[in-house]
Structure formats: structure tokens, C-alpha cells
Symmetry: C2
């Protein structure tokens, strides 16, 4: 982190800041900068759930897998997170997190942490061939929800279609450069949030707005803390697509690449949509 | 189910059978037919975790998302599952499941259920073009773990490589026809198990055996109960690949297709491997 006690916290750090209560639970507060249509942007909720494990005194290693389930709308204001190390092995640790407001569960999550070690490595998929971030114009987010203003987004492909386009000519692929705005060094918290920053695929594939929202999100981290820190505050290349829409839900699979061509994370989700 | 009280249960139904205890928890028992190298095949553990929610009297709708975390080895014998409906909305329900043996958590899971309704639908990916199941020879599983004998597997591509092949000439894609053996009508329980039936990608990509195992598995169901029942006991086409191997873990993404070209499920996992 580049902040010091003399500087205000980055909005993402305000949005994911958790204070430990005497009973061991954590209290957080939604951050207006990340407001979505209803409640906060799901990406910061995922980041806060992960942070509850990251800041736990018994935490072992780096996150490898994170699943977040959006059980109910998070109201603006305070929320509570309970983070429980369900099992700790020699070099791995499994977590369960639950977020509540009053008596209502709003969010559940599980995470798998591990001490990462160098092994044989290979990337089978290739980074999309795109112009550099500097060569792509930045999205004017004035027409979009508040949280989009917390990101510098530069769409290479798959921005919102206009009404003249047909679903038969479109696919659900979006590819964009994205970084926190103001810039912030990449870490697991910011990467977890970026993994949920894609607009719902159903509205990229079909040129019409419908109610839609993530119900379950799973992210696999392929980089350790050191690799992420080495990215600094440079943009990452994010690409997402759906494979199946039907019966009110669609999936989404995403890849997050470093500028240097490292696959930092793969992320999957299932999204509710109407009609 | 085609079994009656006069017929013995299918091995998969024995492996996933849960008996409710007076305190509301469930007791299960590992089934020798699904033995793996250590403990049971992870697919039947995933299926048992899902079944704990499926048979709950308060269950709403069909499973849409399932995440299973393999926290520790399951010893042969009895296990206990606690399944808690964390939040029930008008047409959706979120679950948390925990499996224990004695005081040790062996497995955690979350699931999202929903009442599925007909909506606009589309499949963006295509079914792999392959010969029919009948035209592909069945795997001789005599050299493999016990659980593989519970499946009729017919590899079209990506069977175990032999030592003469190089990792540079190989990729991690496997495509096969698979069904329960003895045949059993497809349902969420059997489909959840099939989603974990792929051999670890690291050993398909590299012609050498190394310790490897699933640590977290997420499956999205794109079909409802009625669509699955319509498949009967016909084989499904299963395809899987990895995108990134590194730092001791690799991902895997899989698709499960019906013979008729319906995408029944997509499934993702992260796998530990050594070296």
C-alpha cells in the first residue's frame, strides 16, 4: 500500500476496511464511492469477504480460491462478517465467511489459502492480442453506476451494444484494460473486486437492458502476493464471456492478465437475469 | 430412480445416501465401490454434499451453483454432514454444508438453488464434434482406481499420454463420453459426481505421474430436473482443459453436454499438484 497515516485511505481500502469486535467478528461499512443501482458493487463485497480472512491473525499463505454467494441485497451502512478457519493443514487453510445485517445473512463465502511454492508452470491459453492501454480511449462512465467511476476502463471489444445491433450478430465477449482510479497497487483485495467488474453478459449479448445480477462468484488466483505486488498500479487486461444462457441464469468465465502476459486470475460466476 | 424396494440401490445411491439424525444432522458412509487412492472419489463427496441440501425438507427449487472444498482426507467409514439453509428468498435459496469426521472438518460446501423459469436462452459455445459413444471403445479401467469402474468412459481425446510424448506436443484437453455403470438415470447427484470425474490435467499435459488432487470445485447447472430426467441413462459428452499451471496449483474448466447438444453443466476446479 502506498498510503501512510498522513494520507486519506484509497476508496477501495475504505470500502473493505474491517474493524475487529470484542467477540472476534468484524464490522465494515458500505462506501458511497462504490454504490451500485441497489447497495454496493458486488466486487467490493467479494473483496471485503476475502479481506476478512486476509487480516485474520491465524491466516496461512495466500488465497488460491474464493467463492462468494450473494444471498440478499446489502443495505447501505454497517455490516458484520464472521470469518472462521474451518481447517488448517500444514501448508493449506480453508475458510468460511458469513456477512450479516441484523439477523439476515446477506453474503456467504468460502476461501482456500495455501503457501505457494515454485513448481513446473505453463499457461495454455494466450493473452488476447490488443492495443496497449494507452492506445485505447477511456470509458466515459458518466451514464453508469457510481462504482464504475472507481475504475479506469478501456474497452477493446464488447462494450454495451446499441439498439441497432442484433443478438444474432453479437457475442458475449468483452475485453478491456482496467485499473483502480485513483491508481492503487494491485493486491488480492483489488484483484478480487476487478474479477466482478464486468457488466452482465446478457446485456452485452442482447442490445436491451434487463434486471440482472451476480448470484455466485468463484475466483482462482494464479499469482502469489509477490507477483501481484510486482504489477504496481498498472492496468490489467480483463476478458469475459458466457457459454450458456437459459432458465433465468447464465454463466460467465473471465481471465485477468498482466501487461506482461501473466495470467493472474481466472474467475467464474452465475448471473440471474429476467426475461 | 429406477430402483424399487425389491432391488438393491445403485452404488451411487449407496455412496450418497444420508440418514437424518435426531439433531437434524445427516450421517453417511463411504462406499467401497467409489474408493480412490486415498479415501473416496471426490465426485461422490461432492454429490453427497449436494444431496444433503436436495433431501432437506425446506429445499426450494433446483441447484444452480455448487462449490465444494476438499479440506482434508475423508477416511473410509462414517461421516456427518450439516446442511444449513443460510437464506431463503421468494424463489432462491442459499445453503452451507459442512462434512465432519469426529472433530475434524473434511469438506465444506455452498450451494445456490432457484426455481427455474423459461427465459430467453442461447448457447454460445459449441458441442465438440466427435463420433457417437457407440463408435468409441470403452476404457479398460483395470489399471485405474476402483471408482473408475463405476463409469463407462470412452475417450475421444486426451487420455493419459505415454512416456514417449513430450509436454510440448501435448495440451491438457480431454474429451470423453461418460455414463454411470451400471446405467442410472441422470440427475443432479450423478451430474455433480461426473463433473469431478476427469483425471488431473497436469498428468494429461505432462507424461508423468505426480501427486495431485482437487482442492475446490464449482459446478453451474444449466438444466433443471426435468431436462436431466429427459436424458435417461444415456452417456454425456464431457470435456475439460486447464488454462494455468503454476505455484503448485492449476485450474480446470469443464463442460458436460447431452447427446442432443444441450450444455447441461459447466464446472471449474483448482487442483493441487507436486513438482
Amino acid at each position: 500500500m502506498s498510503t501512510t497515516n498522513d494520507l486519506p485511505l484509497h476508496p477501495l481500502d475504505r470500502a473493505t476496511r474491517l474493524v475487529r469486535n470484542p467477540d472476534g467478528s468484524l464490522s465494515g461499512r458500505t462506501e458511497p464511492a462504490y454504490a451500485n443501482m441497489v447497495g454496493p458493487f458486488g466486487g467490493v463485497t467479494a473483496a471485503a469477504m476475502l479481506n476478512a480472512a486476509l487480516i485474520h491473525p491465524d491466516r496461512l499463505g495466500d488465497p488460491v480460491a474464493l467463492t462468494v454467494n450473494y444471498a440478499g441485497a446489502l443495505a447501505d451502512g454497517e455490516f458484520r462478517i464472521d470469518a472462521v478457519p474451518m481447517r488448517t493443514n500444514r501448508s493449506t487453510q480453508h475458510w468460511a465467511m458469513t456477512a450479516t445485517q441484523g439477523d439476515e445473512v446477506t453474503t456467504t463465502a468460502t476461501a482456500f489459502f495455501a503457501l505457494r511454492r515454485e513448481t513446473w508452470a505453463s499457461t495454455e491459453t494466450g493473452i488476447p492480442q490488443v492495443p496497449s492501454a494507452e492506445a485505447v480511449p477511456r470509458l466515459d462512465s458518466s451514464a453508469f453506476a457510481q462504482w464504475t467511476k472507481c475504475y479506469d476502463m478501456r474497452f477493446v471489444k464488447g462494450f454495451w451494444p446499441d439498439a441497432s445491433e442484433s443478438e444474432h450478430d453479437l457475442d458475449s465477449v468483452s475485453t478491456l484494460w482496467i485499473r483502480d482510479d485513483p491508481p492503487r497497487p494491485l493486491d488480492f483485495v483489488s484483484l478480487a473486486a476487478i474479477c466482478d467488474s464486468f457488466f452482465p453478459r446478457v446485456m452485452i449479448r442482447r442490445p436491451r437492458r434487463v434486471p440482472a445480477g451476480t448470484v455466485s462468484l468463484t475466483t482462482y488466483f494464479h499469482a502469489d502476493a509477490k507477483h501481484l505486488a510486482a504489477q504496481g498500479d498498472r492496468p490489467v487486461l480483463a476478458t469475459a464471456r458466457a457459454s450458456r444462457f437459459g432458465l433465468g441464469y447464465h454463466d460467465q468465465s473471465a481471465e485477468i492478465w498482466s501487461e506482461g502476459g501473466e495470467l493472474l486470475a481466472t474467475s467464474h460466476q452465475v448471473v440471474y437475469y429476467k426475461e
